[in-house]
Structure formats: structure tokens, C-alpha cells
Symmetry: C2
Subunit: 158 residues, 2 copies
């Protein structure tokens, strides 16, 4: 497989590490490193956004029109990444899920119910409390997600 899409000069260290992790994950499970999988990871990384499978697919089609990547592959890659905790999904009141990279850089979300925009934040105090609540109840935390819904500053000003 060529490195056309991953010229190291144009990629951050962070992305290189992500890509290595992904390759390691694939190897570990005897899965293959395909250009579609690479492109999916890369597009998700570049977008810095919370994407639905559909919007990710559209982005990929725009960036790599020659690949004709199918949406089924995007779904399959996202499932794979989610199962290995390389991406996290957020569910909303509405239908569908949004995906983002990096369960490791943990953060929570402020979601604007007007414009749908998502702001991230982390709060150590909350993280610590969560751990102790779980402990009290004999529960072992694997993951968590917190969403605060409301109106963001720009929408209030409108």
C-alpha cells in the first residue's frame, strides 16, 4: 500500500501516532490496512469535528473522489474504531450518532439545541466524583459520556 496519502512531511506527530496505533490494532487482529481505512481515519482526524457516518462519507468522497468509498465501508471502519476505543460516538435526541476521534483525550460536551454546535470541555472535579460514585456502587467504569444541552453564546446573542 502506498504512502501517497500519508506523506509524513504534511502530517503531525499526533496523526502519525494515531496511524501507528491503528496499524498495530489491525495487525493484532489479522486485519488488513487498506486505503479506505486509512482515508477514513485521516478524514476524521482532519475534520476535527463530530461527524455522522453520512457526513464523514461525503467528506471522504470530496477529498478522495477516485476511491469511490462506499458508505458501508465507512460504517464498518467506524465500528472497528469504536470497538477498539479509537473513536467515541455520541448519541443525540434525534436519530443517528456522531463520531469523534480519541477516547484518550477524554472530554465532555456542551451541545447547543439551537445550532447543533458542540463545545468540548473537561473537568477533573467531575471525573473524580464519577469514579467515587461508581466505586460506592460497586461499578467498574469503562467509559462515560456527559452532554449538557442548552443555548450557546452566539445563539443567545442572535
Amino acid at each position: 500500500m502506498s504512502n501517497v496519502l500519508t506523506d509524513f512531511k504534511e502530517r503531525t506527530i499526533e496523526y502519525q501516532e494515531l496511524l501507528s496505533d491503528f496499524k498495530a490494532l489491525l495487525k493484532k487482529n489479522s486485519l488488513k490496512f487498506t486505503i479506505q481505512r486509512e482515508v477514513t481515519l485521516e478524514t476524521l482526524y482532519d475534520s476535527n469535528e463530530h461527524l455522522t457516518p453520512e457526513s464523514l462519507h461525503k467528506l471522504i468522497q470530496v477529498k478522495f473522489p477516485d476511491l469511490k468509498t462506499g458508505i458501508a465501508t465507512v460504517y464498518r471502519t467506524l465500528s472497528l474504531l469504536e470497538d477498539s476505543s479509537m473513536v467515541t460516538s455520541l448519541s443525540f435526541g434525534a436519530q443517528g450518532k456522531k463520531y469523534e476521534l480519541g477516547a484518550k483525550n477524554h472530554h465532555d460536551h456542551l451541545i447547543c439545541i439551537e445550532c447543533g454546535d458542540i463545545t468540548e470541555f473537561v473537568d477533573d472535579e467531575i471525573e473524580v466524583r464519577q469514579e467515587s460514585i461508581a466505586k460506592e456502587l460497586g461499578f467498574t467504569i469503562e467509559d462515560h459520556s456527559m452532554q449538557i444541552y442548552g443555548i450557546c453564546k452566539p445563539c443567545k446573542e442572535k
Copy 2:
């Protein structure tokens, strides 16, 4: 509409209040108080659980077989209740949503990824932190939801 299903002697004050709120809500929007809507609210109240539209529908069919309540009506009633904040929905990694009564009795959720069981908890410290984080970012909170995923005590012991 008869009161067959809501004999006050058999119902808690809490349920009576809920029902009044519901009736008020309907009246306010020129909607009708139908037996299907009542049964849906009542079944949700009695179950004390987090139900999917499908499981709620099944429960209703078992409790009130003569009504032949359609699942479409359950969906419609749940949307109505959710829009008016009388019920809250939780989304999961998997498909579908679960509904529960009472946004007013706010609480968060510990969700077991083994058995799907949901334990509720409330923590004032977290609630307070959420408010101050939102304030810092110029965000007005309307609602929030927090889910902690992991393995519950019974599942660990198995």
C-alpha cells in the same frame, strides 16, 4: 373519557399529579385526553424502568389487551411527552432509545455494558460544577445527561 383506569383509590398522589400535569398540557395545546395516552403514561409510571418504545408497547398490550394500542401511538405519545419534558430519553451505543418519566427528578445513569441494566444516581457536586462550567463558556443549560458505562456488581461477580 372514563376514569376506569385511574381509580384514585389505587393511585399515588404522585401519579395523580403527573396525570393532572399531562391533562393540563393537553388542554393547553388543544389536544385530546385519550385512553391510549392515559394508558401510556400510566404504564410508564408503573414500570419504574427505562423502557424502549417497543417494550413499553408490549407492556401496554399485556396490561390492556382490549385496547389494541398501536406502536405508532406509543411513539407519538412519547414524542409528545418528551417535547413537554415530562419524559426524558436516553440514547445508547446500540440502536434505539429508552424513555423514563420525570425530568424534574433529575438523575444520572450508570449503565452496565454487560447486562444493559441502568442504575440511577444524583450528585450535587457534579450538578454544581456543570452549572459553573456552562457559565464560564456563556452557555445556558436547558438540560443535561450523563451516562457512565461499565460493569455492574452482579455482572462482575458472575
